[in-house]
């Protein structure tokens, strides 16, 4: 491993065992310590000028004990050995009993390193500044209607170390770098926003061969295109959702409802549905944390379990859930390497990594040709879901109408709403053009980088919102 835990976290095997023994002293069946040491840097440029920087350093630990399904946990900033021992004692005092579980000898798993960030920080910030000013220039020069450009680069680096009574002894180094360009177009009356975003779990090496000017232009294109678009007229219609970030539909409409956080509590519409048909026959979906290039990938999850490729839906049949250690006892479902947390300040739980529909057999052109009237959702925005009801929504950032099998005029203000259990059954065409989009997913255990992805898909009918028309 690239991280020497003893050096970084000051914990020997003897000390680790001592802390876990204290935590288990009142009959807990599982105890775990998660330690973290992270830095994060944000550089923000407005109108071509570097306006602000923030550098932050995070250091702390989370301890938890589970007994008969109850989890007691603590997050502490000052994670000295003394503090960890004291915290373990406080947690153990929540229970009454004698020690029944012994700490298993620690075993560091030999994991496959799929994520190996290199150049997180350079000698100076010249490369970073060049990216920011190039993307700003690309956006500004695209059109005179671009009145404001903000470019932002964030770089996060985290070293984590987790040890637990079940023999877990694992470290990992993570890095997430993301460039965002936001352009605002105005014609004096209306203003519209366009964005482009590129992120990876790598250092600055991810920008090798990257065209920042083109990247800025894309943000500007989206803003200008929507500035001149008509208002969407709402109603029910076929919707073609384009590849890449369009996969947010799978993320919101379905997979949040497959996370153990909802399923274990009986708060998901997908409870008890494994082996049953939940989507049309052409639908296959995975959550894959092992893909080397995708920014939702992790070598191990925050419980020290190596990440996996989890098949979620196979030919329309639900195959499994995303499950962490704790919920695995409760649900009688194997762990899936999906336990994640934003930082030690959150309790870890089952989350997504890179989630996408697998390619189908149609081509993009065939899907458009075969659609008489409908919406082409080219660039999706964010969305949300209530897993208990399966009802979801998401915004469409760039959209066009499809009329007589042709993409015609741009429309703004389209929003899609639906119910997860209906929409997956209504997918009637899937193209062969799988792409990925970069997202941050916010949920119970905080905000984490995730990939949403898909080929272009068509949903036979769904409710589209918009304020156009005179009906």
């Amino acid at each position: 491993m690239s991280v020497k835990h003893q050096q970084v976290f000051g914990i020997t095997e003897e000390i680790a065992k001592q802390i876990l023994d204290v935590a288990l002293s009142t009959g807990g069946q599982f105890a775990e310590v998660f330690m973290e040491n992270a830095t994060s840097e944000v550089l923000r440029m407005r109108q071509g000028k570097l306006e602000s920087t923030n550098l932050s350093s995070t250091k702390g630990a989370a301890v938890r004990v589970i007994k008969d399904g109850t989890e007691v946990s603590a997050s502490v900033t000052l994670a000295t050995v003394e503090k960890l021992l004291e915290t373990a004692k406080t947690l153990a005092d929540s229970f009454v009993g004698e020690q029944t579980t012994q700490v298993a000898p620690f075993v560091e798993k030999d994991i496959e390193i799929v994520v190996n960030p290199l150049h997180v920080r350079g000698e100076d910030n010249s490369k970073e500044l060049q990216l920011l000013s190039d993307s700003t220039r690309g956006a500004k020069e695209f059109s005179q209607e671009i009145v404001q450009v903000i470019s932002m680069l964030t770089k996060n680096e985290r070293n984590i170390f987790v040890f637990a009574s079940d023999s877990t002894w694992q470290t990992d180094r993570r890095c997430n770098t993301r460039l965002i360009c936001q352009a605002i177009a105005s014609d004096g009356k209306d203003m519209q926003n366009g964005m482009s975003s590129f992120g990876r779990n790598q250092g600055m090496e991810m920008f090798e061969g990257f065209d920042a000017i083109q990247f800025g232009k894309e943000a500007a294109f989206n803003a200008v295109e929507m500035l001149h678009a008509e208002e969407m007229t709402g109603g029910e219609m076929p919707v073609v959702i384009h590849n890449g970030f369009g996969g947010v539909i799978l993320h919101e409409a379905c997979v949040h409802g497959l996370e153990a956080t909802s399923v274990a509590k009986g708060m998901s519409v997908f409870c008890g549905k494994v082996g049953q048909k939940v989507a049309s026959d052409i639908v296959n979906a995975v959550d894959d944390g092992t893909h080397p290039d995708l920014w939702g990938s992790i070598n191990v999850d925050d419980e020290g379990t190596p990440s996996k490729r989890n098949l979620l839906i196979e030919n329309g049949i639900l195959r499994g859930y995303l499950v962490d250690k704790r919920n695995s006892f409760k649900m009688d479902h194997p762990i899936t390497g999906s336990s994640r947390r934003e930082s030690y300040k959150y309790q870890t739980t089952s989350r997504m990594t890179n989630t996408y529909f697998l390619p189908g057999e149609s081509t993009f052109e065939e899907i458009i040709d075969n659609t008489k009237f409908g919406l082409f959702a080219k660039e999706m925005g964010g969305g949300s879901v209530n897993p208990a009801t399966g009802e979801f929504n998401f915004a469409v950032n760039v959209a066009y109408m499809i009329e007589d099998g042709k993409i015609t005029r741009p429309v703004k203000g389209a929003t899609l709403v639906g119910s997860g259990k209906d929409v997956l059954l209504r997918i009637d065409m899937i193209a062969n053009n799988l792409e990925y989009g970069y997202g941050m997913c916010g949920s119970q255990s905080g905000s984490i980088p995730t990939i949403v992805g898909q080929p272009t898909i068509r949903v036979s009918h769904m409710t589209v919102g918009g304020k156009g028309g005179n009906k």
Binding site: K49, T77, G469
Partner: protein, 442 residues
């Protein structure tokens, strides 16, 4: 290093002024599931943000460790970063010596109660929700949290301020089910007194909401008069509160940029930012830059009076500081409201609904983080609610989209309720009746 040593070291490294902002947070939270404590989590968090000023430019760093080596490295990075910044509008650090209006400390008595008593409270909530109806099949969310926070702000120009507060929040979310359809109702309570947590109200509100949504159908696409439940109206106002901020004006990211002094909303609209608002939970005598907070009508009878500012945005736009510079995570300062509310009218919710012949009562919205454009004012959000027929709540409806434009909507508010939430946090709005909005459904 101590806070004073950090300031001293920053000045030695060539910064013209240095500010430290230290916060200590303790919070505990309990979750119950099926009569059993599912989790009990505790947090003890500490962080210090350091800002450094040089040549009118400001950079910041944040640390959770005060080890000499960590702080020294961060301070050196701060100096490098401040030098690397381009000069934009000048930054300032506030000088000490102002008079601050004192506020009463928000102090909870939660430490006088045991974990067992808190667990018992959650058990009562869950048990009594389930007893309301056979159709309440589960209480999916049953949670109690207590938080106490202490903040210290010091700078090299004489600011030395401190504030602390503590409170309890409780919420419950029963799940109702019938014929394969499910609905969730949520209700919460924020309090300082453990004995005053409004258990009866939470049970009644949450179960009533969940049960009322069972059997929800769809609605025909069209334009309808819309009544927003106060919570929904508050969420929308909150989502658009950025249009009143100095930062947005600096970035020209609000249509109000050049509209100070102009009539922008209907005459019935007054929006106030009041750090001392008696209806609000938290009161602030100073902001995170050390500037005294002041009460002001941001919009008065439809006229836009001015933005809520940080020191930087106030100076750049030639306005007076308003005490609205707060940290939004990280170390940097941005403009934010203190307690922002839309001034009440004199009708209650039922009186407002009684005025609608054929319209929609929106009780919940989803997707506000994505489905709105604070720059253009356009919004498209997922709605849940009821059809109103002849002045009465008719049938439940779901999965429709409410679309409009914030600026237009604020010119089309027909009636304003008298029901602002007690002990609100952040932004509050009473029930609103809008003349007409686009609803997309079937």
């Amino acid at each position: 290093m101590t806070l004073d040593q950090i300031i001293k070291r920053g000045l030695e490294l060539g910064l013209e002024a240095v500010e430290v902002y230290a916060s200590t947070t303790e919070s505990n939270s309990l979750k119950l599931d099926e009569g059993k404590l599912e989790s009990y989590s505790m947090k003890e968090l500490f962080s210090v943000s350091i800002r450094g000023l040089k040549n009118g430019k400001m950079a910041s760093v944040t640390t959770e460790s005060l080890d000499d080596e960590v702080v020294e490295n961060l301070l050196q990075a701060l100096v490098r970063n401040v030098d690397a910044l381009d000069a934009t509008e000048p930054e300032f650090m506030f000088e000490g010596g102002s008079v601050y209006q004192p506020v009463e400390e928000l102090k909870s008595n939660y430490k006088d109660f045991t974990v067992a008593q808190k667990t018992e409270l959650l058990k009562t909530l869950e048990r009594r929700c389930l007893a309301v109806s056979d159709k309440i099949v589960k209480v999916g969310y049953c949670q109690y949290s207590e938080t106490s926070r202490k903040v210290q702000l010091k700078n090299s120009k004489g600011i030395d301020l401190a504030q602390s507060y503590s409170y309890i929040s409780t919420f419950v979310g029963p799940l109702a089910a019938q014929d394969g359809q499910t609905a969730v109702g949520i209700s919460g309570d924020i309090n300082t007194d453990f004995n005053a947590i409004e258990v009866d109200r939470m049970i009644e509100e949450s179960t009533k909401d969940a049960l009322a949504q069972l059997g929800a159908g769809s609605i025909e696409t069209g334009k309808y008069p819309v009544v927003f439940k106060r919570d929904v109206a508050s969420e929308i106002l909150s989502a658009f509160s950025s249009v009143f901020l100095g930062d947005s004006a600096l970035r020209r990211m609000t249509i109000l940029t050049d509209k100070v002094g102009q009539k922008v909303f209907g005459e019935n609209i007054t929006i106030c930012d009041d750090p001392f608002c008696p209806m609000a939970l938290v009161k602030n005598s100073f902001d995170d830059e050390g500037v005294p907070c002041v009460t002001k009508n941001v919009v008065e009878k439809g006229v836009f009076n001015g933005f809520m500012h940080t020191l930087k945005s106030a100076n750049a736009l030639g306005a007076k500081p308003t005490g609205n510079g707060f940290k939004a995570g990280g170390g940097a300062i941005s403009s934010q409201p203190t307690n922002l509310y839309l001034a009440q009218g004199d009708l209650n919710k039922d009186e407002i609904i009684a005025t609608v012949q054929d319209g929609i009562y929106v009780t919940d919205v989803g997707g506000l983080h994505a489905g709105l454009n604070p720059i253009s004012g356009d919004f498209n959000v997922q709605g849940t609610g009821f059809v109103i027929k002849n002045g009465k709540i008719d049938r439940p409806i779901t999965l429709f989209v409410v679309s409009g434009n914030f600026y237009e909507m604020m010119n089309n508010v027909e009636l304003i309720g008298n029901d602002i939430e007690k002990r609100f946090v952040g932004v509050a709005c009473p029930t609103l009746k809008i003349k007409s909005l686009a609803i997309s459904g079937k």
